[in-house]
Symmetry: C2
Subunit: 460 residues, 2 copies
Amino acid sequence: MRRITTLATAACLLALPAMAQPAANDRLATAAQLRDGALAGNKAWGLLTNLTDTVGQRLAGSEAEARGRAWAKAELQKLGLVNIREEAFPLTAWERGQASATLVGSNHQLALTALGTSGATPAGGITAPVTCFASLAAFRAAPENQVKGRIVFIDHRMTVTQDGSSYGVNGAVRRAAPALGAQRGAVAVLIRSLGTDYHRNPHTGGTVFPAGVSPIPALALALPDAELLARRCAAGQVAMQLLATPISRPGQSANVSAEIPGSVPGEVVVLGGHLDSWDQGQGVFDDGAGVVITMAAAAAIKDHVTRTGLAPRRTIRVVLWGAEEFGLIGSRAYAVAHSQENIVLAGESDAGADRIFTFDSKVAETGLPLFAEMAEVLAPLGIDAARTNKAGGGPDVGPLAAVGAGIIDLGQDMTRYFNVHHTPDDTLDKVDRKQLDQNVAAWTAAIWLAATDDRPLRTK
Amino acid sequence: MRRITTLATAACLLALPAMAQPAANDRLATAAQLRDGALAGNKAWGLLTNLTDTVGQRLAGSEAEARGRAWAKAELQKLGLVNIREEAFPLTAWERGQASATLVGSNHQLALTALGTSGATPAGGITAPVTCFASLAAFRAAPENQVKGRIVFIDHRMTVTQDGSSYGVNGAVRRAAPALGAQRGAVAVLIRSLGTDYHRNPHTGGTVFPAGVSPIPALALALPDAELLARRCAAGQVAMQLLATPISRPGQSANVSAEIPGSVPGEVVVLGGHLDSWDQGQGVFDDGAGVVITMAAAAAIKDHVTRTGLAPRRTIRVVLWGAEEFGLIGSRAYAVAHSQENIVLAGESDAGADRIFTFDSKVAETGLPLFAEMAEVLAPLGIDAARTNKAGGGPDVGPLAAVGAGIIDLGQDMTRYFNVHHTPDDTLDKVDRKQLDQNVAAWTAAIWLAATDDRPLRTK
């Protein structure tokens, strides 16, 4: 009987006027209700366990990433989202291979790993003298004889910042130093990992060899190994035997998207994460968490729509980008393909699984009252009011912002993010479920408010 | 002039009546002075950096361990100790080789490493179904069809304990399970690392295959990987492709010792650590720290003797054992070779580099007043009074205790010891210099008191 009653009730709810729009004065109350519901229980942890245990790492362009897309489409369908799409794009795929480094005349096997797009050594490896630099600036200033024919090591270091800003400040060492080394005749460039943990788990990450610059081996040392190498350099001449065997090949990736249709066609609110990950860990903090946070937020809203029959005004679209780690390849392709759409606001969760503590916007002046509403609804989650209207947004929304989409950035606590990101340590055990749930609660409320709003948000 | 004065003063001091014994009422005051001097500055950090940067890991029976002995003898000589000896003993040396494990039908490459004395798989590896057990007891109770022809995984877990006791309680899983698996027809035994950190750095450590039991592959999984495997087992059937390539061969190791001669020949106080280490890290916490703590304590006492001309009554002997990690091979040989000596007290530093917070003794009743004196001198270092007269001592003093030597055990805070011990993470950056110095201060004072005492301490 109970079952029949429940089904009957559900049928009644589904029979309510479809696609009706919530009354404006209900918006904040409903957002608060969705927030509290998500905080009490949502689908993120189950999805995250399922994704990372059954699919595992999802390197861009790999069969593993394709398995991730198949998983996402199946799960989005189970969640009741519609218009599920996969939009393919080409890329140069890259595989890590092996890497080893020994200091000549010592027992030391250094813990290091190749940076994405790194070139390979000859099959037997190379042996060369090492020049150690304390910073990227010191490397830039060095004379040719300290670089040419040598292995260059740059001990440039980042620090722990709650907002992750040190990664931005110091990112140039990873992005630019290998190409600079190649142009100056270095036989390889090693960097101290862009990371903040002291484990023998080096941080990979993409580097860039511009057109016309042939890739050389480019690798990152774990922090204990970087500091050992720096001490050996300080003590005298150091030579290294280095082997790295990455390969590049033509490949393909894709973006996956799915929707909760809005009652007024044409206006779209995008939220998402990136499905690809690095291959050393299982892509949990980066960015399995963002994928499942946005999926769980969408699921909470979809459940509400189903239950009440009240659809949001704007279409909510979950986008799970591909190939973020190789330079936003998926999101650039996405922005081009969707440049004619009216994407009014876009947000990405791509900073781990720890709690959101602040938020920023980048929208038209007309949209700022929406963020005042959000501040009110997000405050009980311990989230401070919008700090600026200059949000950068998650990396994959940058290309959409460049063509005029408004941006919402829910700022996560990144204090421990760079302990695990891009390392073998990016595994499920690192996730604090309560903080994961707080993310879902915040995104659910924020996206609901944005999707039920009608104020212009686009910046152009 | 200054230099000449100093030299002249030193010459005068050296001309004082050699080997005179300190007056009894000076003992505590001198111990306190030695303590404070060592706390303010000592040689431990410099020695530790030098040992682990220039020698690195020191696997028992390897050329690396021999380099460690050469380093130790040279440094002990520089510190002014005499009667420097190297006493060789044979052992079956073992080399780790490579290890890899993949869950069939998945992307998961598990982080694991061989246990010391592990056997090898065939060259191409093995593929077999996995049985997961939550504990050693569950494995012992399992029927044959869950073991024979299968890879056995035991998820037996240890917890963090300040005194390290969980390692003792749970150690049987590593020592006994592989042999039990071999006897019951398992093709390999995997254990959850005996460790407390969640990094992809598995903990190695010795296991034991008794005479007549042929070694099978025996490996430890990093905690994130152990938990992943347990989840996959809970979800259904799991098969694993496993490769492990360790080898065993006849080898040799040795103990190194050096002395500060006492004024009354025949009675010896031993302090030491073990020179060998596992090969994954650099042997810093285990047991480079113990080696340098005891060397620096001896150096502080030697400097005092040189400065004052007042030798302790008993001979102080630093012993740096070899091959501790393969079952106390060096210290067993040492106890046999020195069974006729009057070693009145022995202590070992082998619990990392963190602070001492308590101490225990195991001595004749007649010796207990000595430990009351120690309590007084050690209290300002934040060390609680002797808890028991049932000390086990560091592992390498066990064989000496078995033949009657008294034992002193300065108990270190091991809260984070099992995060790094036996892992690739056992590197210099883990050391807190202030805590390292506190160890030297405590050992210097304790050994001074023991060596200037005349109460009987031996238990038989």
